[in-house]
């Protein structure tokens, strides 16, 4: 958007970041034990926050587009490089179950003093450096199977709105199962 200057954009990024960090911490994402809970059933906060947030933003954008407040063509849609998306995701999955954090939440945890979060961030730097240093070894994989920036709704052959509805129903189903699972564990505050 060239309606606002670059510096204003950075200032707004900072403010949005404050909102991001605040909400994450308020929801408990500064605790690695809470984050890992989804994989064992004792704490499903990740599932609930994640999907509710995605759905809220998705509905928001679709409705804004309906009212003409936003041109969806100008909004960034992440590109799809099929093989690296899967491979990267798998490696991140291992990192997640081991480390209990992801980059965003680790900053959040570090900001309230969690030392394991700080160590995780250190690990992130090392991981990125390894990727950069050995780039020639995996650049083929990194650039393979570029599919453009398709939307899931396009790939499945349905409208954006219909997909949103399906996602909402699926998410509500998952939330219900999650609540049943959580009841089996004693409620502890981490």
């Amino acid at each position: 958007m060239d309606i606002i200057s670059e510096n204003t954009n950075f200032l707004l990024a900072f403010i949005i970041g404050i909102g991001f960090g605040f909400v994450l911490e308020q929801s408990g994402f500064s605790s690695s034990r809470k984050l890992a809970g989804i994989f064992y059933g004792y704490d499903t906060v990740v599932l609930k926050v994640f999907f509710t947030a995605a759905i809220t933003a998705m509905l928001g954008l679709l409705f804004f587009s309906l009212f003409g407040w936003v041109d969806l063509n100008l909004v960034y849609v992440n590109p799809t490089y099929l093989y690296s998306a899967i491979a990267g995701g798998v490696i991140m999955g291992v990192g997640f179950i081991m480390g209990g954090y992801c980059p965003g939440t680790s900053f959040c945890g570090a900001s309230i003093g969690k030392i394991d979060a700080l160590v995780f961030i250190g690990g992130l730097f090392i991981g990125v450096m390894i990727f950069g240093a050995g780039y020639s070894l995996w650049d083929q994989l990194y650039m393979a199977k570029f599919l453009g920036s398709p939307k899931v709704s396009e790939t499945l052959g349905m409208s954006d709105g219909f997909f949103a509805l399906l996602l909402i129903l699926a998410a509500l189903g998952m939330f219900w199962v999650a609540e049943l699972a959580e009841k089996k564990f004693p409620s502890e505050e981490y």
């Binding site: 759905i55 509905l59 309906l66 003409g68 100008l74 960034y76 219909f162 509500l172 219900w176």
Partner: protein, 208 residues
């Protein structure tokens, strides 16, 4: 009431609405009325027929003539190398890539200039670049290029040069036997405006 139930009661109706309502596919106008008026007043959209003829003779690959008349009229006569986008179909999705691009120079033409200008105004307002109007349209093209009037003997050298060019161009383009040479010396044709590269969709970079 359980939070989950409250949440469901809120988002399910929203989901139903967004699924049911057809997507907003309107193309918004990007230029303000003032901006468009400024362009209209300086007549930046016009391209002289000599310029077009020159490009055709040089086989300039960036040239793309677009006939905005109906299909019937296009089939009866059209300028070599032109494509037909009837003005009634101007906003159809199939032509979006032709009209909104940054590699070629699209030149609208019709009998006169009315329809070509209509096409130009709409596409210009949508923010598309590199679209122009053939000055005088086909009517003037016939008169100037295919049947040029010899200038009076008191006219300037430039007028004569122009006439010579038009004559040979007309013969070459009208299917005559004389092979015309593109004008290299005298600046008969106006300067060809540069192709404006525009990022097709001004997306902010995003990602990780």
């Amino acid at each position: 009431m359980k939070p989950l139930v409250r949440l469901a009661l809120f988002i399910v109706p929203l989901g139903l609405i967004i699924a049911a309502v057809p997507q907003n596919k309107t193309k918004p106008y990007k230029l303000t009325a003032n901006q468009l008026l400024a362009e209209v007043n300086t007549r930046t959209q016009y391209i002289a027929p000599e310029t077009v003829a020159d490009m055709m003779l040089k086989k300039d690959p960036t040239l793309q003539l677009i006939d905005v008349r109906s299909q019937d009229e296009f089939e009866k006569f059209n300028l070599t190398g032109s494509i037909n986008i009837p003005i009634t179909d101007l906003l159809s999705d199939k032509y979006a890539d032709v009209l909104d691009q940054d590699t070629k120079m699209n030149i609208f033409y019709s009998h006169g200039t009315i329809q070509a200008n209509e096409a130009w105004m709409i596409t210009r307002q949508l923010g598309y670049k590199n679209n122009y109007v053939l000055e005088g349209g086909l009517n003037y093209w016939f008169e100037a290029i295919l049947n040029p009037q010899k200038p009076a003997s008191t006219s300037s050298d430039e007028e004569f040069a122009k006439y010579d060019f038009r004559k040979s161009a007309g013969q070459a383009l009208g299917g005559g036997a004389v092979a015309a040479q593109p004008m290299i010396s005298a600046p008969v044709s106006g300067p060809v405006p540069p192709i404006q590269g525009a990022p097709k969709k001004k997306k902010a970079a995003g990602g990780c």
